[in-house]
């Protein structure tokens, strides 16, 4: 299979996902930040009869508070964090639960505004930390791939793939936020960092095969070597991502509802990370070798 020859198709697919994502990220509100970042309201709800946590979670979900975190204080009382509520909305929640459980006597013991759990600084700090880490990975690839010509291209391509994956995930969640009201919380932050780790590892495995084959067939055309390398490592790429996808899907389908956003990021991350090693990182190397950018401009010049 000629992967390198189809590189423009890969780029097109990536752009087709990235561009809508970026549009959704730019138009307000971009990513929908959850109550971990924005703060909101808390209430201490006391019931006359025991209720399970999952029942209450379902009730709040139906009332449109899917972001609510619910902690049981004891059998009859719960500590609930929601987005900021006014008195009317609070009463609407209480009445909503009351309608479905007419025998319950529901009491709101406390109702307050609270500050965010995670300061905005944390997100900014995490961003800088990841940026610094990317820089050092860039340097490491320079060293690890010093035996192949144009090493800097490998560093550059790996970091581009990493950026590509991050932007796609952010974009997907901006879109999901608009369409399905999915909010990003602290979990999202860690899931993104995890995806970045996966992306780098996956790219390096493909590059390793390239490194080996370049030294093995020094006279071959670069595109051909890329194709061979991708083909040879395809089994590994698919199997590794399949094992991860099996686990994540099992967790998504049978696991609790409270970590679904988290798992969704990881799930998308595995797919995008595997794809980008083949479709982005490797193809950037081919484009560089083939001087694609120059050709693009010279073609334009000719048509003029």
């Amino acid at each position: 299979m000629d992967f390198a020859g189809k590189r423009f198709w890969f780029y097109l697919i990536s752009l087709a996902v990235i561009i809508p994502g970026i549009i959704f990220l730019i138009i307000a509100p971009g990513l929908k930040t959850g109550i971990d970042f924005t703060g909101g309201s808390t209430m201490n709800l006391s019931l006359s009869e025991p209720m399970t946590q999952s029942t209450l979670r379902k009730e709040l979900n139906n009332l449109g508070y899917s972001e609510a975190t619910i902690q049981r204080l004891d059998d009859n009382s719960f500590f609930i964090r929601t987005k900021e509520l006014n008195e009317d909305k609070k009463n609407a929640i209480v009445n909503g639960i009351q309608n479905n459980f007419p025998q319950q006597i529901i009491e709101v013991l406390s109702f307050d505004l609270v500050s965010p759990i995670v300061a905005n600084e944390t997100v900014i700090n995490a961003f800088w930390a990841v940026l610094a880490a990317s820089f050092f990975v860039f340097i490491y690839i320079l060293w690890a791939f010093r035996s192949v010509p144009h090493t800097i291209r490998y560093s550059f391509a790996a970091i581009t793939a990493l950026l590509h994956d991050t932007i796609i995930i952010l974009g997907i969640f901006a879109i999901l936020g608009k369409l399905m009201d999915i909010e990003v919380n602290t979990f999202f932050l860690f899931a993104i960092v995890t995806v970045i780790g996966y992306s780098i590892n996956d790219t390096i495995v493909i590059f390793d095969r390239l490194r080996e084959n370049i030294n093995l067939y020094p006279n071959d055309n670069f595109s051909k070597i890329v194709n061979t390398s991708i083909r040879e490592s395809l089994g590994r790429s698919l199997n590794t991502s399949i094992t991860l996808l099996i686990t994540l899907t099992a967790l998504l389908l049978f696991g609790g509802s409270t970590i679904q956003t988290f798992l969704l990021v990881l799930l998308f991350g595995v797919i995008v990370g595997t794809y980008s090693s083949i479709g982005v990182a490797s193809q950037i190397l081919v484009s560089w070798e083939e001087n694609d950018i120059k050709k693009l401009f010279s073609k334009k010049n000719i048509t003029r």
Binding site: N125, T186, D208, A250, G255, G256
Partner: protein, 580 residues
């Protein structure tokens, strides 16, 4: 088989160790204590485990009324930060702290074993203050006229109510009588009653002797002069007069007290008497507080073995402390008094100047636990506002116990499916990878459990790191198997395919893992600089997972595979070639 004895023994020992580590919920060997009342005794974050739910009210230091913040003030934020630091350095787990309304704090901590210690660490104001204590400071008595006595004379001491024992001598003891103007008499009377009160207050504090009692210096200028000090309780006012009675000190001439005659000789015709208040100990603020500390840590005294708190000052503190100690070094009448939350801890004299910016504090009855907590409180800085506990409850995990149980089962289903997939695809090696994966997971979990500090607390970020590292461990196996497969299909023997496959896969495994380790190191260093403990935990957990995954791929999977290849299974390459 024989060739792999060493590896097998190492693997066996590690499996047994990690089995023991996880098998016992609580581990205690000497001072080393790990584990708790959770699944496998792992330390879990608030997402996965319930804990304490505490609500605090910020109050004003003086009025004890609820604190009312002004618009845009940052006191509550810095209060939150101080408490965060304290909880982190006390190893009480990753808390959730939120400001409720204007002036309350919600603190949730995962599974606190000792709630009282937790509360004391959160709530202590921990204000450390250093003061310059001057001993025996002469002070003019305020309001008293300079030449206050209208008349003085010596007479026999009244025996009944002077407060001084005349202990069995037949000699008639002399005493000084001084008559003051009515204004001065009031002032003087107030002074001695205040000083007496202080004297008794200190005396009743179950002390066998008074450390630095205040006195009044009496100075008589007549034919000759006499200067001596008396306690306020030794002075009496003659009823309904303005006359005060002062006992006389021992006469150095005959080693007994002055009698009336010799006292009168001193006073003479125009004797004068002066009074000066001698303050026993005067504490002077020098502007040196816990805020000037760079670090503090617990230790024991080199000589006495007593638990102490070691202090290291910041630049400003070093300067102030250095200047003061230089000024008072060697002086027996100067001390440095150290107070924690207004309780005096110790007041040493300074033998030689301390310009290095270090100091220790000792308490009369410190325990090792106490000095640890004190140094921790000092290091985390004092609370900008005092707080009061309003509410204390237990709270369930954020992710919900029901949801977590489901996820745990789902995770196990996922793991079984992965092993099944690996077996179907890679046959025997796949099965071995599955076993290696279980061994791998238990090793990682036991290291997380044994790791000092609370960075490896398993919260959701830890779970994310764990999933990634398990993924990388599986990846390492798959990389080896794929290479093996290639070699097998070229007609090599099983054993040489294993060896070559491993050697070929190794650079990819190494580079992938090393770049992840680099990421972990940078994340750790960065988040440590910025104080983001959650990111730090993520980095540490991932790094542990990655290192162990390399170990498991090299040692566990490969050893098992080689053993199998050497046995009769090794001949049947069908067991190693995946279904097409």
């Amino acid at each position: 088989m024989r060739r792999h004895y060493k590896q097998l023994i190492i693997i066996g020992i590690i499996i047994i160790l990690s089995g023991l580590t996880l098998g016992f919920q609580k581990i205690k060997i000497g001072n080393f204590e790990r584990g708790g009342n959770t699944i496998l005794g792992l330390s879990l974050g608030l997402e996965l485990q319930g804990g304490s739910h505490l609500v605090y009210q910020a109050i004003n230091a003086d009025s004890k009324e609820p604190f009312i913040p002004t618009e845009g003030s940052l006191e509550m934020d810095s209060l939150k930060k101080s408490i965060e630091r304290r909880i982190a350095s006390a190893g009480l787990g990753e808390p959730i702290i939120q400001i409720i309304g204007d002036n309350r704090l919600l603190i949730q901590m995962p599974g606190v074993a000792d709630p009282d210690r937790a509360k004391s660490i959160i709530g202590e104001t921990a204000q450390l203050v250093f003061k310059h204590r001057k001993l025996d400071v002469a002070r003019q008595i305020e309001g008293l006229s300079d030449n206050s006595a209208i008349n003085i004379y010596a007479s026999e001491e009244l025996n009944n109510d002077t407060g001084v024992t005349t202990s069995g001598t037949d000699q008639k003891l002399g005493a000084i009588y001084a008559e003051l103007s009515s204004e001065d008499a009031e002032i003087f009377s107030n002074l001695i009653s205040r000083m007496s009160d202080e004297f008794y207050a200190e005396y009743s504090g179950q002390k066998t002797f008074l450390e630095n009692p205040s006195t009044i210096e009496v100075s008589i200028e007549g034919n000759s002069s006499l200067k001596y000090r008396v306690f306020a309780i030794q002075i009496t006012r003659k009823e309904n007069t303005n006359e005060f009675l002062f006992p006389l000190p021992p006469n150095p001439a005959n080693e007994s007290n002055y009698d009336v005659e010799s006292a009168n000789n001193i006073i003479g015709e125009n004797g004068k008497i002066f009074f000066t208040e001698i303050v026993g100990a005067l504490d002077e603020d020098i502007g040196l507080t816990g805020d000037d500390l760079a670090t503090s840590y617990a230790g024991t005294h080199a000589n006495s073995g007593q638990p102490i708190v070691n202090l290291i000052f910041k630049e400003r503190g070093t300067q102030i402390f250095g200047e003061l100690t230089q000024q008072i070094a060697g002086s027996p009448t100067d001390q440095i008094a150290i107070f924690l939350d207004e309780t005096e801890l110790i007041s040493p004299v300074v033998e030689s100047p301390i310009v290095s910016g270090t100091s220790i504090i000792q308490g009369r009855d410190f325990t090792l636990e106490q000095v640890k907590d004190i140094s921790l409180l000092l290091e985390s800085g004092r609370l900008p506002l005092p707080i009061e506990l309003l509410k204390e409850r237990n709270v369930d995990a954020i992710l919900g116990a029901d949801s977590l149980e489901k996820s745990l089962i789902a995770g196990i289903i996922g793991l079984c499916l992965v092993i099944l997939f690996m077996f179907l695809y890679y046959r025997v090696p796949g099965l071995i990878a599955g076993i290696a994966l279980i061994i791998y997971t238990s090793i990682v979990l036991s290291i997380l459990k044994l790791f000092p500090g609370n960075l490896t607390t398993l919260n959701l970020s830890g779970v994310a790191a764990l999933i990634l590292s398990i993924g990388m461990a599986v990846d390492a196996n798959i990389l080896i198997f794929e290479r093996m497969k290639e070699e097998l299909s070229q007609g090599r023997t099983v054993l040489s395919s294993i060896n070559i496959g491993f050697n070929r896969a190794w650079p990819a495994i190494r580079d992938g893992n090393v770049s992840t380790l680099i990421t972990c190191a940078v994340l750790f260093w960065f988040s440590q600089q910025l104080g983001e403990t959650v990111l730090q935990g993520f980095a540490v957990t991932l790094a542990i997972g990655v290192v162990i995954s390399m170990f498991s791929a090299i040692l566990v999977s490969c050893t098992f595979l080689r053993i199998l290849a050497n046995s009769s299974f090794g001949k049947k390459s069908i067991l190693y070639i995946p279904t097409k």
